[in-house]
């Protein structure tokens, strides 16, 4: 279980200090898919850096399986929005995917098998010897996902991972994510500003808002488990949940950048 317990983050001290997050709490159960939504600039990325141990919290604590997170945990892997900046252009796809496994401590056994499985899972088998810049944006993000999978995390943390790809690719990647989540039995924390995406993918959605930002509300997504782009998004329940989420977001301040949900897909 991943616990975000009263997390606060303040930059600077005294009069010049600036509080980004305040008393933010929610939990993510093992195997659960939780999306975090909130307006742009609300500190979603800051929260993500806190819960992945990249940024020390000012108050409160992040706990993973009961242990306080003080640095990047071995059982967590990150996927950022900007694949072009998080992949290494001087390495081939395979070298990118295996790099963390072969360079982090302690060195993992069965690294080759894990790399192979991750590459197959995201459908990159024929591109292993290519370089990231020879691939489309969607394929590059698959490389970043494969790299995270090969690391064999129990928690996958993603920061708006599909925000830089076109709509068609986004749908493909969303379904890919759902299938690998099942195959690899991972907990997923998914940051997004896209309401449809949050509802479609998640078991639960945490709505952030306020200034400084805090966790305002949680919405349970009671859609059937097997989700399909066309069928799921056609359900009256999907439309209802999306409207509900939209209302929650609108009620939190600083909502200028929330996209209005459109009913036609």
């Amino acid at each position: 279980m991943l616990e975000i317990d009263g997390v606060g983050l303040t930059y600077g001290t005294g009069a010049a200090s600036f509080t980004v997050l305040k008393d933010l709490s929610f939990t993510v159960g093992d195997g659960e898919f939780v999306s975090v939504v909130g307006p742009s600039g609300s500190g979603k990325t800051t929260l993500l850096r806190c819960l992945s141990g990249l940024l020390p919290v000012t108050t409160g604590a992040v706990r993973l399986q009961g242990t306080k997170v003080t640095g990047p945990p071995t059982s967590m892997a990150l996927v950022f929005q900007d694949y072009s900046r998080s992949l290494m252009p001087w390495l081939t796809v395979r070298r990118n995917v295996e790099f963390p496994l072969k360079s982090s401590k302690p060195r993992r056994r069965d690294a080759d098998a894990a790399v192979e499985r991750a590459i197959n899972a995201v459908g990159l088998t024929t591109a292993v010897n290519k370089y990231p810049w020879q691939l489309s944006g969607g394929m590059q993000q698959r490389v970043a996902i494969a790299r995270a999978l090969a690391y064999q995390p129990s928690v996958l943390v993603m920061d708006e991972p599909f925000a830089s790809v076109d709509a068609q690719t986004r749908f493909e990647l969303e379904d890919l994510l759902l299938s690998i989540r099942r195959e690899f039995q991972m907990t997923v924390v998914f940051v997004t500003h896209d309401i449809d995406e949050a509802v479609y993918l998640s078991d639960r959605v945490v709505v952030m808002g306020g200034k400084p930002t805090t966790a305002k509300e949680t919405l349970a997504i009671d859609l059937p488990d097997a989700r399909q782009q066309d069928r799921t998004k056609d359900m009256p329940r999907f439309a209802h949940l999306r409207t509900e989420l939209y209302r929650m977001l609108r009620e939190s301040p600083s909502t200028a950048s929330i996209a209005t949900p459109v009913n036609s897909q």
């Binding site: 850096r49 992945s52 141990g53 990249l54 640095g71 990047p72 071995t74 967590m76 892997a77 990150l78 950022f80 900007d82 072009s84 900046r85 998080s86 290494m88 252009p89 001087w90 790099f99 963390p100 360079s103 982090s104 401590k105 370089y131 990231p132 810049w133 020879q134 690391y151």
Partner: protein, 256 residues
């Protein structure tokens, strides 16, 4: 095919025309300062193919290579440390810029004073002069490594050595390479100047000595040799850089 031939051929037009003009304009020259090109070519063949390589060319190249390697290793290492330590960077940056702005040849008298006129002095002059472009560029390159890449690698718990050698240095290599390019030009310049000022062998010494002995064709042939050496070093480095930084040009959609 035609395009490749044209690209290879185009840069050759100017030198071919210039050399032809030179050849015919001074063919019957009796001026001691401007000997016919054929005389210079004769002198070049006698001197530099390859009689004086052991006595002059190799010593020059050797000192240059040692001095350059010292600066390459030292400046890159220092650049990584400074680039990664914000406090150190703020403390040293103005001085790096200052030392970079000092013409390295101006320090020759000082180096002769403390190191004498032997190989050590020339190696030190080259090492010192070529340090600054590499250092400044390495600091810049290390500073501009993408924050997202660093975050990603930190999240994967990449160890310190791996982080420096396999993430930060490759990331900074385009900038470091720009520094190396500048420094290679400087290295040739500095070795020649230091040999002209204080030496008993080397190409720089040879050129100055030929001038003093009024062996003008020999002087010209030495100058031409330096030009050819400079072009060769540059071309060689370009080839290495092209291969090593292919990813950089491709991922930034830069033209070949």
């Amino acid at each position: 095919m035609i395009r490749i031939a044209r690209r290879a051929f185009l840069p050759l037009i100017v030198p071919v025309v210039a050399i032809t003009l030179w050849w015919f304009a001074l063919a019957n020259s009796t001026s001691i300062y401007y000997p016919p090109l054929s005389t210079i070519a004769d002198s070049f063949r006698h001197l530099w193919l390859f009689e004086r390589w052991p006595s002059d060319v190799l010593p020059s190249l050797g000192r240059m290579a040692i001095g350059f390697l010292i600066s390459l290793v030292g400046a890159t290492a220092a650049g990584v440390v400074i680039g990664l330590t914000p406090l150190l960077r703020r403390a040293t940056e103005p001085y790096v810029e200052f030392l970079r702005a000092v013409p390295p040849a101006a320090l020759l008298p000082f180096f002769i004073l403390v190191l004498g006129i032997g190989d050590e002095m020339k190696i030190a002059v080259v090492a010192f002069g070529t340090t600054w472009p590499i250092l400044a560029n390495t600091i810049l390159g290390v500073r501009s490594v993408d924050a997202t890449l660093l975050d990603t690698m930190r999240s994967f718990r990449i160890g310190r050595a791996q982080m420096i050698f396999r993430v930060i240095l490759p990331s900074a290599s385009p900038q470091i390479s720009a520094g190396i390019r500048t420094s290679l030009g400087l290295a040739i310049l500095l070795i020649v100047v230091s040999e002209m000022v204080a030496s008993t062998n080397g190409v720089g010494y040879f050129i100055l000595n030929a001038q003093r002995l009024f062996q003008i064709p020999a002087m010209w042939s030495g100058i031409i040799l330096l030009g050819l050496l400079g072009v060769t070093v540059n071309l060689g480095y370009s080839l290495i850089e092209r291969r090593a930084l292919r990813w950089y040009r491709a991922s930034n959609k830069l033209e070949d």
